[in-house]
Symmetry: C2
Subunit: 422 residues, 2 copies
């Protein structure tokens, strides 16, 4: 019997280190000559349905290693959630058909909670359809909201980026505040969980340091208390830095960013809670504000990656191959914290069924009584995650030497075109 | 006769490397034991008027060197433009009074065109009032709009940051575009001159690479042509990255960011051309967009400084002291480009009178015929400026070891309180 091949797919929003997990998988699989080839789906699960599979065997070892320091999802990701087997049986059958056609015995799905659910269903479906497939989940999400794992690969780099950006921009506004801008507002990602906003709190080395206020999605926006504290910071320190999660809501549960206003073109205004907070402060307190929205910049900032994050992203990739080689299925390698001081971690094994469709919010004990700052417990959790740097190499042109997408050919297709979905 | 002291002041918007110029001045002055002490005004020229002067002689050599890698303006800057001598005679007289009181013979003013003008006026005023003062300008501005100098310290780091951010975020949107976000919009600074937006063009290593479109303040916004090109990029590449200068205007000269809309709080919406472009694309083409506003993040991103920039910022500080030691006044050290390939530069000397109140816009030859991209001439000018990295040291907490403001005491005041202005 020939060795079965591996299929790797990226899912959902990408991270600065999702490719490091891909590299960990590819590099490790190459150490097992008795195993098959590694294929990678183009644009995630959509590429499997469409039978668009990259043959990564033609990638040079140095290209695989370059993946380790390249942000984005090099093979393409997708936002496409498979429903339950009952509703979407044809899709599951198509996946199995593609696996069969290319002799794929192991499927690695690199994603969050939805992907764990999908991978779990595929692992069961395969057995039912007489083509047993090993499904291994590989964790990633900047939202840090997966259960069981101590941390989600991708989050620590975003955390480091946000903490550094907060520290740097605060030095800027501090310089200007005597005669100009007094308040700086940084909007960060986190629709439901405030992990990323919390990470900005790491910039505060001493009491009174920026950020003076953090707005979490877990805490309803208390406008009077907020404005009072902004004013207090300006009075005491001369300036105020506010870090706001995109997901912050008022006490009726409505997103602050959902203003309902239309712009000059007559189009509904898209997102952006930072400009709203700036307008509020300017209007109520009269202070000049500057605001930034980090958006994708935070999610792709591989140039300032956390070394811990890169190592963990690589390690979950490597462990996925090792689990596969040991015959495992329906599992996901996760990060287990052994100790915080000194920081020690190891890979553990979780069941996909337990990872699926759960969202880990910040514990209330990680936000202080005021609702505007993190606690020491939160700091103890977050601090080790951003330790160490892992700079990408640079070219002579002054820019990182990131791997360009499109380094390997697609496998010849063997099946009829998939027309069912989309 | 005792040696005269130096007074250093920061002016206008700070840069990621303005402190490197301060460090260059302080370090160099310490090499001339025959010269006096270096004082630094708190919050720029306002601090001189208020007689709030830091005595930097107590700073340790390693603290001076830490300034070299610390963003923001450690001594405080200000937005405060002195008018002409006729209108503001009392202010000029107060400055001279403060110089006299602290035996200051040399004034270093680290700023842009306005500051060159002020320094020039002070240099003349001192002679008239019988207290000759040597005034030396030290260039800085992220806007890169000073005349004569080939480049303004501060700009190259912003350029490097913007080029890297564009490259990274484009890898992200490229990954997502098959099933989700198709357009990414990055808003950068540059109210009048498009230098910063142009720098994003360096991310384009090959034809077709991001950014596919740049919107410059020098070119009126052509909405139909813009939308057509966005759609073409989405069709050809699957995605589109747009970099937009905050100063882009319509054909009536009105800023696109000036929408006139009011938000849910009833306050006028502050700035933000990126969300407006996103709403336009979503409304007219139907594509899902993400947008980021870099604001202070770009201006304080010392963590990814251009090595060339740090060296030049230090060098203009050093040269300022050397000019002063040689008895010069009314001058500014500037950067002269000797060659682009290989990149060679040296310090030259410009007259402050020639630097004052002029704004160097991008040459039209730096923007291509379409109005949406840079030319090879622009690339040849910009490319060498972002070469090399100059990472700050990091602490164990995973954050840069930036110098905290407030490392030296204020000099005891000798004069009556200044009450005239503000």
């Amino acid at each position: 019997m020939t060795a079965k091949n591996f299929l790797y797919a990226q899912s959902g929003g990408v991270t600065p280190v999702i490719n490091a997990s891909a590299a960990g998988i590819m590099h490790t699989a190459r150490q097992y000559p008795e195993l098959g080839a590694v294929y990678a789906a183009r644009n995630g699960i959509i590429g499997v349905l469409r039978e668009e599979l990259f043959d990564t065997t033609s990638m040079l070892d140095e290209q695989v290693m370059a993946l380790r320091h390249t942000p984005g999802g090099t093979f393409g990701s997708c936002r496409y959630k498979l429903k339950g087997v009952a509703e979407s049986r044809a899709e599951y059958e198509r996946l199995i058909e593609v696996f069969k056609a290319h002799d794929i015995g192991i499927f690695f799905y690199n994603g969050g909670g939805d992907s764990a659910d999908t991978a779990f269903k595929i692992s069961q479906m395969g057995t039912q359809l007489g083509f047993p497939i090993q499904c291994i989940g590989v964790p990633k999400t900047i939202d840090n909201d997966l259960p069981i794992t101590d941390v989600c690969p991708g989050f620590p780099t975003v955390a480091k980026y946000v903490a550094i950006a907060t520290m740097e921009a605060s030095l800027d506004v501090m310089s200007m505040s005597a005669s100009s801008t007094k308040v700086f507002i940084l909007e960060v990602m986190g629709r439901h969980a405030g992990w990323i906003a919390a990470a900005a709190g790491l910039a505060q080395r001493q009491s009174g340091d920026a950020p003076q206020l953090i707005l979490f999605p877990e805490i309803s926006f208390d406008q009077p208390a907020f404005l009072q504290r902004v004013q207090r910071s300006v009075t005491e320190h001369g300036y105020c830095t506010v870090v706001v999660s995109e997901g912050v809501r008022d006490d009726t549960g409505k997103f602050l960013s959902d203003s309902g206003v239309r712009d000059a073109f007559g189009h509904a205004q898209l997102g952006g809670v930072a400009p709203r907070i700036a307008a509020l402060i300017k209007g109520e307190l009269g202070h000049k504000c500057h605001w930034a929205v980090a958006d994708y910049l935070q999610r792709s900032a591989r140039h300032i990656a956390s070394r811990v994050d890169v190592e963990q992203a690589w390690a979950v990739g490597r462990a996925a191959v090792e689990f596969a080689a040991a015959g495992e299925s329906g599992v996901m390698p996760v990060i287990e914290r052994v100790s915080s001081k000194p920081y020690q971690w190891r890979i553990a094994k979780a069941q996909l069924s337990a990872m699926a469709n759960q969202e880990k919010l910040m514990p209330r004990t990680f936000i202080d009584a005021s609702g505007f700052a993190i606690t020491q417990a939160c700091r103890d959790y977050l601090a080790p995650l951003i330790a160490g740097e892992d700079y990408p190499p640079y070219r002579d042109d002054g820019l990182p030497d990131y791997l360009r997408p499109g380094q390997c050919p697609l496998l010849p297709q063997k099946l009829a075109k998939w027309t069912k979905t989309e």
